[in-house]
Point group: C2
Chain length 210, copies 2
């Protein structure tokens, strides 16, 4: 199987290098396949790799990883030629240039609606990302699941952090109230895994650090 | 500190009971505070708890947990009286009645845009939820971080699952391509923790099961 990397920057370079090390043929697609950056990448990633233009990469590959900047993606994809039947892995995120939010796909959150309804209150989003069974007993052996909260009032968040820690969660600040635009979809992920993907309800997420 | 529970169902009942067990005064707010369900809940949760109407609960509490069904929330909050200065914890999710998606806050995703651009391709969303440093080396001691993927073609997803597992991830199917509406905000959460909340980039998430 040949894997084509459409956008051989940090993400595409890392994944292509890893896949080459596992025995896959990897083509690093680039606007400038003969440039120094691609020469270095191919030299580092090893002999089962080469560099090519985006179009040649697409034509020669069964699987394409697309990892360009979001703002370049539409033009680059339009130039790839016929993609019928190919597997395209979309590794991009439609981020604003300052990484502060998604440019696409989100526009508000339940929490922001609640804040508009609860005039004068200090609204904190929390306890929405796992089922009540996890709230009743958060322990997974010695592990504590993460419980994110977000809000615009630091003192109120401190209180909520304590309320989550008191009952056994690894309570973590996710930022401003608008971050509910991430925490509510995170809840949807938990719900869909539990009920659509067949996981059942006895799971949660732990933060790994190193 | 007195905690008022606005909506004493599965989530509100579980959290109120847990907080009461940690020594907090808890008022279980209900449309029917004298009903059998509230009597049972108060009997089970212990003597530092009582039941009251929503409005009385709000008036007597410093912190309010709002955990009604989303469709009831606006009316219930409007009936709570003056909330100025109170901490309101929003534990709800604005879900569609069948839990299949959020009714509010999401409307598309980058992945769905990519699918519209890459005619005929089998698009899978993956490798977007952690930084390239985690892709270069996913190991956290003995722990493997989760890597979600989603898409509408089962065979393509199987290939992507293998590509993620090959380089050390716990690869997990998050469902249809529209689930990118959850996975892209999940990426935004990782990015904001790394760069805005000061975590740095050496973290990831593990699935805990029991």
């Amino acid at each position: 199987m040949t894997i084509g990397i459409i956008g051989s920057g940090n993400v595409g370079g890392a994944l292509g290098t890893r896949w080459a090390s596992k025995g896959y043929q990897v083509i690093f697609g680039s606007r400038d396949p003969a440039g120094d950056d691609m020469k270095k990448l191919v030299a580092s990633a090893g002999k089962s790799t080469r560099a090519a233009t985006f179009k040649d990469t697409a034509a020669a590959s069964d699987v394409l990883l697309v990892a360009t900047p979001w703002t370049a993606a539409q033009d680059v994809i339009a130039g790839l030629g016929n993609l019928t039947g190919k597997i395209v892995i979309d590794a991009m995120n439609p981020l604003l240039p300052d990484l502060s939010a998604l440019a696409l796909g989100t526009n508000t959150s339940g929490a922001e609606q609640v804040a508009s309804w609860a005039a004068g209150a200090k609204v904190v989003k929390a306890f929405n990302t796992v089922g009540n069974n996890i709230m009743e007993n958060p322990a997974f052996g010695q592990d504590r699941p993460v419980l994110f909260y977000c809000g615009d009032d630091a003192a109120a968040k401190q209180t909520v952090m304590q309320l989550a820690a008191d009952i056994g969660f690894d309570a973590q600040d996710a930022g401003a109230l608008s971050q509910a635009r991430a925490l509510e979809p995170f809840a949807l992920l938990w719900i869909s895994l539990a009920f659509t993907q067949g996981w059942g309800r006895e799971f949660a997420f732990k933060v790994l650090r190193r």
